[in-house]
């Protein structure tokens, strides 16, 4: 990336770790055969994939056989939710999620609602947390499927997956967790966590883009109906030629993460503290989310500042607005509105997200640039009533 950019958007995507990269190079030169082929070249490829499954299984503490490769968390979420809810539909059609989930979750629920499922959207508190009793109260006899994300992509809030999952287990409800922002970044032990389905994507933790996985617990009643159809690959759950080098890269990213989560977290916490301390005195500033959330994300709103101009004035810093990045006219983030922020607060939200390569100097620079930008835009603005 060009020298004069300061990248603080690691929650959107991360660069590939050089070791991941090296592994992918190695594999793409040597193991290019189709892993479905029984000949020697195919078997070599098959072994490479087996090793990657072990690496990812190691990170999550699960058996490699529980992992299905996909093109990313969007596909994993779709497969888990559409596939899981449909698989259980004969038992009941009530399904539960939250408004603060990623679009790759909420849009699938909207689609299922059209298909005849009955959706309950449970509310978060003002920090974005789902209280277990609030959650339990939303469940019904015909509830068969629940999806709650691990780490929120806008605010970094971490849900109490253990408590929520325990409630689901008790009632034999299929429990899906969107782990896109969590895997490789916070410790996750699926051998002890009551999670049935977990989505992940490589490019959020220094792995390649275009590859993800869905963990499917090996327990009775825990299955998904496929959403793509074709060859018999991956036990007919997900067809298509497996992209060996991407899978090897994801495996390597998992292995690297497994060895460094604590150090990573300490580094991110320090960065977030420096950044927050550098801007917290600004008049009208407020933190979106939970101070105890994932430290890689700092989401702040500030009174009476237009968000797009703020982001623009922050250049060369690359951060994200709180709003959905895909709409052309920036809309206030639906996630922040769900947390009770006003439209005005929500539209000014900036998500800074730091990563392994981020330095203290970069966040200090960012804090200074943020202070200047706010001051300049405030000076430029008319008084509320002229």
């Amino acid at each position: 990336m060009s020298e004069d950019i300061i990248y603080l958007d690691y929650a959107a995507s991360t660069p590939v770790d050089p070791r991941v990269y090296e592994r992918m190079c190695e594999v793409s030169q040597s193991a290019y055969a189709n892993p479905s082929s029984t000949h020697a070249a195919g078997r070599l490829t098959h072994e490479v994939i087996g090793r990657a499954a072990e690496q990812l299984g190691g990170l999550l503490n699960v058996s490699p056989e529980t992992l299905i490769w996909t093109s990313g968390a969007t596909e994993s979420d779709n497969l888990a939710i559409a596939g899981g809810a449909r698989y259980r539909a004969h038992r009941g059609k009530h399904i539960v999620t939250m408004r603060t989930e990623h679009k790759a979750v909420t849009d699938v629920f909207e689609m299922l609602a059209q298909e005849g499922f009955d959706v309950t959207w449970v509310d978060a508190d003002s920090r974005g947390l789902l209280a277990p009793d609030v959650f339990a109260a939303a469940l019904r006899d015909d509830t068969q499927f629940v999806s709650i994300m691990f780490v929120n992509n806008e605010t970094g809030v971490i849900q109490d997956i253990e408590a929520l999952g325990a409630i689901c287990r008790e009632r034999d409800i299929l429990f899906h967790v969107d782990g896109a922002q969590a895997v490789g970044k916070v410790p996750i032990d699926l051998a002890s966590l009551p999670v049935d389905l977990l989505s992940l994507t490589g490019h959020k933790f220094y792995g390649p883009k275009g590859i993800g996985a869905l963990y499917i617990a090996d327990r009775p009643g825990c299955h998904v109906a496929p959403i793509l159809f074709g060859g018999g690959q991956q036990r007919r759950i997900r067809p298509g030629t497996l992209p060996t080098d991407l899978i090897a890269g994801l495996g390597m990213a998992a292995e690297i993460a497994a060895g460094g989560i604590d150090d990573d977290l300490a580094h991110l916490s320090e960065l977030r503290d420096v950044l927050w301390n550098g801007i917290r005195e600004i008049d009208g500033i407020s933190l979106n989310g939970d101070p105890d959330g994932f430290p890689g994300i700092l989401n702040v709103s500030v009174e009476d500042i237009e968000g797009e101009s703020l982001l623009f004035a922050l250049e060369p810093i690359c951060a994200a607005t709180g709003s959905a990045c895909n709409s052309k006219v920036q809309e206030p983030s639906y996630v922040l509105r769900a947390l009770g922020r006003t439209d005005m607060q929500a539209q000014s939200a900036i998500r800074f997200s730091v990563g392994r390569p981020t330095t203290i100097e970069e966040v200090e620079f960012a804090a200074g640039r943020y202070r200047e930008a706010v001051a300049r835009l405030r000076q430029l603005a008319p008084d509320e009533v002229a």
Partner: protein, 121 residues
């Protein structure tokens, strides 16, 4: 996906809006609509706009377009204010179509400033 929404001209105008501020003692208008809040102040002499200044709350295109409008109108007859159109702005400044509504707010503000001058005379 996002192409660069900001042209070099938008960048320049946003970075250094020479006409930001207030024209002391001048006529003033304020409009607030469409995610835009705009205050224009101007002084005129002999039917000519002498100083035209703005304060704006809005997206980069709004700030840039307002700056461009002020720069273009200073030194012009005050009657030009009432005939100012959004098309004038957008001709010299690429503004995404979905922001056309905001540019119309600028047009409104400039025109009502023109009205003020007329009412005064």
């Amino acid at each position: 996906m996002s192409a660069d929404p900001y042209s070099a001209r938008v960048r320049d105008l946003f970075a250094a809006p020479a006409h930001a501020g207030d024209a002391a003692g001048g006529e003033a208008v304020y409009v607030a609509d469409q995610d835009v809040r705009l205050r224009l102040t101007a002084t005129a002499a002999d039917g000519t706009i002498e100083v035209l200044r703005f304060r704006a709350w809005g997206c980069p295109h709004v700030i840039a377009a307002t700056e461009a409008a002020c720069a273009a109108l200073e030194g012009r007859p005050v009657t030009d204010l009432e005939n100012y159109t959004a098309a004038d702005v957008m001709q010299n400044l690429p503004v995404p179509v979905e922001k056309t509504g905001r540019i119309l707010v600028i047009e409104d503000a400039v025109r009502s400033l023109g009205q003020r001058f007329r009412d005064r005379t």
